[in-house]
């Protein structure tokens, strides 16, 4: 059997950004358009090397606006498509990300977060774009955003991002950070057969097909350009056939509700989290991405010292397991929230957990929370 060029099965020692690019290729991504920006450039560079090897397209565009625009065009042309950037580029992409939600265009956007606002700290990690991922474009929409905490997850969650994107016909955002993107550690790429890859549902026949007529899961099957469907794709409010309905309140209500509901009502299928030692935990640490890596050993050390500490990590930042977080909030005496920002997800947790029980610990730039620091926080909560 000839070797698969798209799934490089084996044990590797690589950077997170490289793992992300390999995950994309393993998931079937055959189109990448991007613009250089620290700390995500390695994804583009690796795609420039690898995509032509597997028959895929790498384009370097003139800016991030063009990059996401080309990704949208390629997706409708039938390819799985992706772009990667960091905060400033993510800001530039927002209008077209909204367009991709409106036109139900599957694609993956990787934001390797650095410190902001503005140019900020290009080579330092941050988690300051988590609210932008949810609310960055104008209008009502629901997003799916994933948070990797290791090089392995840069691979695994990029595949997951493509699968979710193809399933729900929407953009999916991978919110990594500079450290996870540049970290080198072990990556295990499984056999191709062991990797679950989802393809978008296509219309069964040309007759009577409406590109925005949903199935029971609220997701319409998706035709591609050049197949005789004579698609009309517009960012204007449209009906099921795609025709503009810019003045109809009924059309606006029907479309916006469905775009949101296809994520809201399928939340239980989308949401992912991991938790440890929560059965009897009095103190619960909530952390995602890089801070989780410091929080877990701190919680384990606390346990060794007889402190009933536990840890909860959202893997999908959008949407999150609200019900589970409410349960945790009711049982714990104290909930410590760690973020590399000045309180963004915190406000979500304050809606689900009694704010008086929450201890918030922000961090910025290189002041990444350390296991010792988190242990100190846990001990202070015991007093």
């Amino acid at each position: 059997m000839s070797r698969r060029l798209d799934v490089l099965t084996g044990v590797h020692f690589v950077q997170g950004d490289i793992a992300c690019a390999e995950g994309a290729i393993a998931a079937g991504c055959r189109f990448f358009a991007g613009y250089p920006i620290t700390p995500s450039s390695e994804i583009a560079q690796h795609m420039a090397v690898r995509l032509p090897q597997v028959g895929g397209i790498y384009l370097q565009m003139e800016d991030e606006i063009a990059s996401i625009a080309a990704v949208i065009g390629a997706s409708w042309a039938g390819l799985k498509a992706m772009t990667a950037t960091s905060g400033p580029g993510f800001s530039l992409m927002q209008e077209n990300i909204g367009y991709a939600y409106m036109t139900e265009t599957p694609c993956v956007i990787v934001d390797v977060m650095r410190g902001g606002p503005s140019t900020g700290q290009p080579t330092k990690p941050g988690q300051q774009d988590v609210m932008q991922a949810k609310w960055g474009s104008h209008g009502d929409y629901e997003v799916i955003a994933l948070s990797p905490a290791s090089v392995q997850e840069m691979f695994d969650l990029t595949i997951e991002a493509f699968n979710l994107s193809e399933t729900y016909r929407c953009p999916v955002i991978l919110l990594a950070d500079e450290v996870i993107g540049h970290l080198r550690e072990k990556l295990i790429i499984p056999e191709a057969e062991e990797i679950e890859v989802v393809e978008r549902r296509r219309p069964e026949d040309l007759e009577g097909y409406k590109p925005f007529q949903p199935g029971e899961d609220l997701v319409p099957p998706m035709a591609r350009l050049g197949e005789g469907f004579r698609l009309y794709i517009t960012g204007l409010t449209h009906d099921e056939a795609g025709r503009p309905r810019a003045s109809s309140p009924e059309a606006q209500g029907r479309l916006v509700r469905r775009l949101c509901d296809k994520i809201r009502l399928n939340r239980h299928r989308i949401v992912k989290f991991e938790e440890h030692y929560l059965e009897d935990a009095e103190i619960v640490v909530i952390a995602y991405g890089l801070p989780y890596r410091s929080a877990l050993p701190a919680v384990e050390e606390a346990r060794r010292r007889g402190i009933r500490a536990g840890i909860y990590r959202p893997i999908t930042l959008w949407p999150q397991a609200e019900e589970r977080l409410r349960e945790i909030g009711e049982r714990a005496h104290r909930v410590i929230v760690l973020e590399m920002n000045y309180g963004q997800m915190l406000r979500e947790y304050q809606r689900w957990i009694d704010p008086d029980r929450i201890v918030f610990s922000p961090s910025f730039g290189e002041a990444i929370p350390t296991p010792e620091g988190v242990l100190g926080l846990i001990k202070r909560c015991m007093r």
Binding site: A66, G73, R230
Partner: protein, 281 residues
Amino acid sequence: MTHPLDRYLRPGMIPHIWCPGCGNGIILNAFLRAVDELGLDQDEIVVVSGIGCMGRVSGYVNMDGFHTTHGRAIPVAIGIKTARPELKVVVISGDGDLFAIGGNHFLHAARRNVDLLVICANNFNYGMTGGQMGPTTPSKAYTTTTPYGNIEHPLNLVYLAASLGAVYIARWCVTHPLQLKESIKRGLTKRGFSFIEVVTPCVTEYGRRNRMGEPREFMRRLREICVIRRGVDPSEAVIEADRIICGEFRDVDKPEFTQLLWNMIREVSEKASRGEIEVAL
């Protein structure tokens, strides 16, 4: 009642939104006749447009149509064209969309020589939003945002396209429907970045504020000032309030982006599958 071009018009989308006296319909007509006369398969054409009056054209053609965000028709078209080189991808949009908000994309698509036909309806202002000044508004012209006369210098789109290396460049007025149709046929069959500018009257906004008269009068004036010249260098293709040089300004050949891209992809992927280049992490 039927029209010979009915099969090229998307059912349920006509009447269009364009004002009486607007020239956009003439441009659409010329485009559809060009497609018809070339015998092209309408299911192998994708019309991509941005936002604005001309931006609505992608909804009127009975073909795949892409109505993108403002200014982004060209990069969306590049995504489609590179992914599916067998499709004919045509960008039809207005001057503000293509050259103000979208100017950067025009610049780089022409530089790369991507196989696209870009047709720009130049009506000298932003019609849909209420007649504001744009990058092609003539100096001294009155618009809703230049109430004391335009103090800016307009772009010469033909000269700009020439400086960027577009392989086919023409300018027409809607008073030249036959030449426009023939030129679109040339652009549709040309491999590379082709650019056609079409001067078109915006009676409701631009015409009203600049005393161009009622639609027939505006057309008559355009016919007077838009003169066809052969063999004019793009640097001399003037476009001024009282004189607009029309015609074909360039028709040359050079390597095309999509073809170079796919040659590279085929070569690399074949070498990779034969083990001639190392595929590893």
